[in-house]
Symmetry: C3
């Protein structure tokens, strides 16, 4: 084994004609700031800014991409430190967890987890040897030492990672106090931080429907400067409130009522409370909502039917599974209607059957790797919302999928005509090099580039954010380079498009709502 | 910006080992005549042979591939000249429309529209600069000047494009007068035209089921000579008559009755009228029917049930949506049965939900970019027709899809065993370079090449026909070259197959029915 | 035409940077023994060890991949010697059949049949000219002469092909006498055969769930030695007994009863007989069961419902199609439960609509090329079995698919978390070079390599086995080489993974059940 390093041409195309063109394109985007408009990093990490505890807690325990692979090879979740206190076999020694992970390194071959982790370990933590049973302890010590340094605390990494904006995902009832405090602090923090990146004002000028993406300025190395707030922004996620059949629904409605400082006695009050909370998110700098539904259905119910179903659910009376499903589709339509009012970009993440194994849900809770995609239909499902709001000036809907068959068949054809719709980046099981390439190949012919959201990382693994954005830029450079080499695009166009995908399009897809307070 | 030119290697594989082989294969097909056996160019263009009015009317207004992309970026259809007279905001200045298109050139990056238009503008009209807001007027003037020349009238372009045969698509009630007149005129025209291409007689010899494609002669540069009629042939499209729930159905039945010179008082008379009109299409040189249905279902109803549903529809009595859908499937079965009688090749284009946005349909009419694919099932849907006629000597069914998932799973396995079935070329949203490649990669392993229709352009954009055929030949050359370089095919076989795909297979898939009058 | 030879780089990537790396990886697997853990070669071939009759019977008549292609081009099955005695037009001259096949050689271009046959004809039989009408007789004579030699009898080919283990597929009621006799004979045969390959003991040590694939030893050229029994092992296939609506079901139940030496008067006795037969397969060296169902559904019924449906079927009383379908899903669940008891690996091959053309079924019987895939759902369908047994120590389920859309959407996400589930190799219509590549590209990101079965040939064409394994090793080398060239994997890892896929993973996926008698 020679020293573990990152090759400068990694993830660029193998073809020797295409690779140098890809490198040339990539070099124009590799230093762009990161705009991370959807993800699941906890705001508390930045609000508290306490050091990450240890390598196992940073890399292994919370990352279900990683733990599910080891589970599939026979390692129980508790042996990886996953499970509530008191779980039989729950490993509490972070070093033991780390060793198990390093011993299973082989199983990650060919996966994006391997690719991202290699990037993170080498680039951020300076690791120079491949993980294995033999190297586990030395790597652990090296990372642990770094985590104790001030430069490796969350806010410092925000700068080191060149993150211009990062969105968290927050329950609809969040009081957003940490976001508000943070916005104030980060404003001053940015001024005193040498490496801080700029949030350019260019993008807001073309935030409306139909703007030309070319008009957004892209910061270059020399123009990067201090960062105006907001830098960490919330995202409104009302899922538990829209699914009447969730066990905690009644409790969550009470949380919503409390957060909106109101009583929710009927359907009208429920809508009013949601509308009120959306306003609070806009005021805290939020630019989007997020919706995880099993189906993409957006069919509205008649108001009286919706009100009746809601009333029965509130009273604890019977609501059938079909009624609950219909109500959640109805509420997606309502969310779209509210987005037309308040300007929050609507993100739809459908098609995942959550908690496939109920026993593991009971033992370990949600988000433990047991979420499995299903066939997802969009053409009929999105029709009600697109008929109603697909040409609305102030509406932006970003559709994601884990069913890649929908890209060429449904999503690109829809995004290629409705101004309100943009295609999200390849999501979750599709966020790896080959799937990202397939997305470009399947969607571009019909949707072009201008109807895309640009790259969205959607991760809860904070340290993987630079790796993910860097990988996306490499894959895009490779795809664009092929178009150039096949004489389907000129080089200057490819270079311009690369910056669109990496930087301008995400800013344009998630514009700051017009009535958000300046400077927030 | 250097001068805008077409690179001779465009759309050939990037790989430096494969490209020269691809070039060698492409050079053997690039000059073959064009056999365009399915499309939507209006016969009137050739019958009248009047000059195209202006660049906007030629390239922008009628091309929904193009207008839908600009709509998706916020330009309303009326601003592009689309809409009935009196539409608010309807642009009537062709130069203004052209400018809007040129200003939006960026949005076409990576799309086939961009590729085809570049080919057309450079190759046919000699444009030497990339479209943009700045160059729009100069390009407009250049094209407009050309359109005024005699060599740019439709019939002259027919020769310039080396189109041996072109099929239009015509309502079942068309009187076909323009086709008849044209056939007579083109016969003499061809004799007096230096560039006219030959319609070789070789293909008709192997028109029956199961012929060896190798037996069809391919014209070479030196053998191209004068063209026997027919050159512009009609295609029988009965769709509106088969969908009982279309608003105009009752009126269209009257049109059918008038065209067939009969009364349609019951289901038997309806079938007889359809049969009569098919005969008229055969007599006018037609070789095919065309069927656009939401589903590929071909399940026959019992005759009395079909007769009863038809009678109720005719009487304006209630027909449910389910009955109408079942009747349309039943009628596909009847059309197949009639094809066994009269030898018209049956083309099936299923799986597109037409007019997704009803408001735009009301404002602008059909075919405006709001047609969106849906999941399409073939294995069960085609079973009734294939059970009944899949081995019939005189039956040929060509199945198209916009759901590419069906290629490897259903269509190639079906075409790989039933003699009557051939796979149509990648259709509509799939007619771009990467999707054409995916089609080859998904279908060839199971269906081979001999079970394909060869290239079918299916366009209403007349000037794009040479670009589309040229692109298909390049993609096929690239795919075949890879097989050669991977030692999966010998070069002589690849060269032979390239001519099959470009020329012999379309002629064989759409043979002239045996009872068509000679010389028509 | 120059001499027909196999290029050493065939099926390796075209890209000149990747090819030498692929060659380097391939060279490490090309000589590994063949582990053929699922297929349809008849045990009688080895038990009788009679010479293959003639080239037509060896290559054409029984191979539905081959005959279906010629059928699709208009050659009736009887003209290829397929059909029961007395079939009109049944060809009985093997030379005439062979000529028809050679004359249609063109139609196989681009198919795996062409690739395998080229390998077989050149490598095994020394053919040096391409098949055609002109060369048919000479090739026939050459092959026929070879078939008369002792070295071309089935058992000798077993050695020549370096087959370490081959699994047959046997009805649940098989008496397995031929397998038992063969095991005894092959034990001594192996000792006296110079070229025999070794069955290493390393694999059984890591047969349990979650073992590290790296622990299995791989024989190298120098370690290949004599072969301990068993070498030809049976596979338990109970399909006809699980589908209550099959015409022969009642008869087959009697066969099951006879084989299990019991009476089957109710559902409990039926389960007991199945369990007993599984024990007999284990005792005869079997390591797996095989299940071909239209759907992957595994939903268990309440025991009393299952018992009632079974009782009605047994009595010849009415069982609806829905009840029969539900019962077959229920029985998959029961088979999984029994696998947990007896350690037989469960293979699931769903999603094929058998006998699409009932008339051909009546004329020629099953397995004649009229089996067509349908959309196949796994996420919900496999949920009952995975909830119940997905983490069971002793359970191994291998899921195959002919619906490649399921790879990235459902199968890789499921296999990437449930320890019991492994993904089978690309199956049937997907076992060709480009589909095998797509499988790697679609599944690896989420499932990695360790959750795969490794290569499974699943063929009834005995002579194609070396060609199929060799092709799979080439495609895997090409895929792995790309990962190396793209710096996503190190070369030593790629080399190690190549041996996993070719050799270690199949042995691990089909471990010998713990209670199988030693030396059997």
């Amino acid at each position: 084994m020679t020293e573990w390093t990152l090759h400068p041409d990694r993830a660029l195309p193998a073809d020797p004609t295409t690779r140098p063109v890809a490198r040339e394109i990539y070099e124009t985007t590799q230093d762009l700031p990161i705009v991370s408009m959807h993800g699941h990093v906890d705001v508390a990490a930045f609000a508290d800014d306490t050091p990450f505890p240890d390598p196992a807690q940073l890399f292994v325990v919370p990352d279900h991409y990683l733990t599910r692979m080891l589970v599939s090879q026979g390692t129980p979740l508790p042996a990886l430190g996953v499970g509530p206190s008191g779980t039989p076999g729950l490993e509490t020694d972070p070093r033991a967890i780390w060793r198990r992970f390093c011993s299973g390194w082989k199983h990650f071959r060919g996966t994006p987890t391997r690719y991202w982790l290699e990037h993170e370990l080498v680039e951020i933590f300076g690791v120079t040897q491949r993980p294995s049973a033999e190297t586990a302890d030395a790597i652990y010590d090296q990372i642990a030492a770094r985590l104790a340094e001030p430069g490796f605390r969350p806010r410092a990494l925000l700068d080191q990672f060149r993150i211009e904006t990062i969105a968290t995902t927050d329950p609809a009832w969040s009081d957003l106090a940490q976001h508000r405090a943070l916005a104030a602090q980060l404003g001053s923090l940015a001024d005193s931080t040498a490496g801080a990146v700029t949030r350019t004002g260019g993008a807001s000028a073309d935030g409306g429907g139909g703007g030309d993406v070319a008009s957004g300025a892209v910061p270059t190395g020399s123009t990067v400067a201090t960062l105006p707030a907001p830098r960490v922004v919330p995202t409104f996620r009302p899922d538990p409130l829209l699914h009447l059949d969730q066990p905690a629904w009644r409790t969550d409605i009470d949380r919503l009522a409390a957060a909106a400082d109101t009583q929710i006695g009927d359907y009208a009050a429920y809508l009013a409370a949601l509308r009120e909370r959306r306003r609070a998110f806009v005021a805290a700098g939020g630019s989007a909502t997020d919706h995880g539904h099993l189906s993409a259905d957006t069919t509205p119910l008649p108001d009286d039917v919706a009100a009746d179903v809601f009333a029965r659910a509130l009273a604890g009376a019977g609501v059938t599974a079909a009624e609950a499903a219909a109500f959640s589709g109805h509420m997606l339509f309502q969310m779209a209607a509210m987005s037309c009012e308040d300007g929050l970009t609507m993100q739809l993440h459908p098609g995942v059957l959550r908690n496939h194994d109920p026993e593991r849900l009971a033992m370990f809770g949600p988000d433990k790797g047991y979420d499995i995609p299903v066939v997802t239909e969009y053409t009929n499902a999105l029709r009600p919302v697109l008929e109603a709001f697909g040409h609305a000036e102030n509406f932006r809907l970003i559709a994601f999928t884990v069913d890649e068959d929908a890209f060429s068949r449904e999503l690109a054809p829809l995004a290629g005509v409705y101004p309100a719709l943009r295609l999200g980046a390849p999501w979750w099981f599709l966020d790896e090099p080959d799937a990202m390439r397939r997305f470009r190949e399947a969607a571009t012919g019909t949707a072009g580039f201008s109807n895309l959201s640009g790259f969205v990382d959607d991760t809860r693994a904070f340290c993987s954010i630079p790796a993910r954005h860097d990988l996306a830029r490499r894959i895009d450079a490779g795809y664009l380079a092929r178009l150039v080499v096949e004489h389907r695009l000129d080089l200057d166009e490819a270079v311009d498009t690369a910056s669109d995908l990496a930087y301008r399009l995400p800013k344009q897809a998630y514009p700051t709502p017009a009535d958000a307070p300046a400077g927030v």
